[in-house]
Amino acid sequence: MRTTNYGDSMVRNKRVITAISAVALAGLGLAACGSGDGGSSSGGGDGTLRLGNSEPQNLIPPNVQETAGGDVVDLLYAGLYTYDMEGNLEPVLAEDVPQSEDNKVWTIKVGEGHTFQNGEAINADTFVKTWNYAVHGDNANYGASFFKQIDGWQDMQLGSDGDAAAADELSGVVALDEYTLEITLSDPWVGFPVTLGYSAFMPLADECLADIDACNETPIGNGPYQIDGKWNHNQSIHMDRWDGFKGTQPSIERIEFKIYTGDATAWPDFEAGKIDIAAPNAEQYEVAKNTYGDKMFEDETAQAWGLGFPVYDDVFSDPDVRKAFSMAIDRQAYIDGLFQGRYTVANSYAPAAIPGHLDNTCGDACSFDPEAAKDLLATTDFPMDKTVELWVNSGPGEDYLKVLGDQLSANLGIEYVLKTLEWPDFLTKKDNRELTGPFLTGWSPDYPLSQNYMEPLYGGGPDNDFGYHGEEFEQLLAEGNRAEDLEDALVKYQEAEKALAADLPMAPIWVTRTATVIGDNVDPASFQRNPILGTIDFTALKLG
């Protein structure tokens, strides 16, 4: 969900995530670099961790969409749940995982004694009020779509002409008593609890809801850290450890984010000892690796990239054409050439960090075999004399797609031309199915479930952006969604993924990895990055 921001040539990794936006493309995702993610410590000895960030768009959890805001919000606020390193739901404010008889009506016990930093108590009603705010169409919160499966969501949205919403309260969320929250879904779904660890579900204090703008400048959180002063736009955000937090207390007493503006990155500041953790740019990667060696950590993310096909197009409606294209791509050579070998070859839709991942669901269609690819293409009606159009939004993605195009051209004997669009134009054309050839596409998950890599993109009948419709695939997805427990669901989702891969509406190509370098005053043994959230685990991190 959070798109990465490319403003500063930083692409940062998003945390749990969402679709990778163009922005992401340029910024973070691709290069996985950037100042965003890291900071580094300098100074030493004063218990302060110094980090770099870019200017967040906002600091209201239900509206945070990019990593810059996410990194800050995750420290200031705490939600009902978070994700552990394996992607399992871990209670924070809640007492236990959500309970349900029928997977349609879920009850959550909110723990007693939690408060906001202004002293307000947190109870079931807090969530009812916060979520009503999050979902209401008037507020145009980015995170509103995370609540989509809850009953009454549609009534809270504005009409397409901006007409008022039919309801002001989300009918599917009620407080049964002070600490019991009952959530009713519009359809039973066993995977629902897994979505709750994302920051869109974090609580807001009454004082905050009463004046959201003020709360954006000076957040009233409930998490392990409390803001010191206010958000100094384009300059800094400082925070101190908050002793009132009932969850796991972090060891670091103070965190200072320095905000980088323009297209600046934190890397030179890291080298000068002004920040403690930083991510080198692609150009600096080799040098950084040689210089910092064991202080550099490379972690796999859940961000997956591939070549999407316009299944609605006459030429690409034939699965054999799509497979021939996929088999003509030498993924390892591609990653070695373009990304210094730092990314991982993708041969499945859901990457390894995601629960439900199954290795190589793509099979032969994702292994490089130029001869077979050519032969397969010859059996189809593919017009060899026609120039193939490859679509991308402007930014680093142009280079990525060009190298792909060169491979396709050399291995299949086709001609190609790059069609570059500005990001909003690209998205609109994609929505309207006006892309007339394969396009570069990336995805970061909204929640750690393999289903998230399939249903929002290729499900829902032929109405999706790909124009893909697979009866068996949709059937298996639906069976997974209705399964009794999560394990059965994951098995069904794996079967669905195999069915999807057999039709190959998108050829998986790579999964990004991040590179992070830590400074001398950070204890390397305490460094770990949560692959699901994509962020450094600051609770575990120690200065040393």
């Binding site: 679709a19 949205q157 323009g262 030179p268 000068a272 000892g273 990001w423 134009d425 995805w443 929002p456």
Partner: protein, 334 residues
Amino acid sequence: MGRYVIRRLLQAVLTLFFVLFLLHYLLSLAIQVNGNPARTFFGDKPVTAEQLAAVEAKFGTDDPCLDTIGDPCLGMFGKRMGDWLTLDFGTTFHGYSVTEQIAQAVPPTLILFAISTAVWVLIGITAGVLAAMKRGKFFDYLVRTGTTFTVAVPTFLLLVITQQLVGVSLGNWARSTFGRDSVLGIVFQPSYDHDHPFLSLLVPGILLGAFGIAGITRLSRTSMLENLRADFVRTAKAKGLRPRRVTVVHTLRNSLIPVITLIGFAMADALGGTVITEGIYSIPGMGGLAFSATRDNDLTMVIAIVAILSVSFMLVTLIIDLLYAVLDPRIRYE
């Protein structure tokens, strides 16, 4: 003089209006051609028309004229100008006050400009004058080679190399030798420091000054050489005035007219250099603001920034025109 100033100011208002309208039109066209930026709010995710409409309203890009290519969106422009009359400069896409963002961005940029103007005046003019006085000597050749060098090295390269060599390498040495909070440790650092705005802007300010210094130095030198041969200088010398007075009051003062004009233009050019300098040194100034607002097609912000830049530029040219009269008694605007 008074009538001249009034006439100039009226011209300026008219020009400003045209600049703003042109900009409004170009940015509207950019949205019409490239698509509504509100769509990017959702990234790659599928989005419903209802959600999109809500975000367009929030971004202020919900006017239907933005859907028709070529529509000048006069209504939007008129409304914006009306708001401006009430001193309401609007909000950015992310809901922040344009006035506040600009007010915050102005000081660092002003300091940056003050430093680079000082570099032009102190180093550029001095070097040019000295080179002229010592024409054909070693110093003259040094200045001529040096200016060629600053023109030949691209600004971007100069900035990146200096950031690494001065900010990181030399700075790390200074910080380990004299301490983290020593003046040298703060001056030699690779990015802007909010606690020490002036000190940390010295190096980028000097670099920005290096941009354009070649023209100023060379023009001062040529202009000096020309005036050194002028009749009035010969007369002054013949009158038996002290050489120092001849140089400063008679030659230099008259040589400065073209140089001052050039400084005015160099400032306008340096606005482009600010975007790069502020980007590399992470200075939260007008350049960075203009850069990100343009990238995001944030109409409200871009128009406000350009208005301020246009007004400043017009003021600078006005001041320069008035300075002519001070420098050369023969020029009077009546």
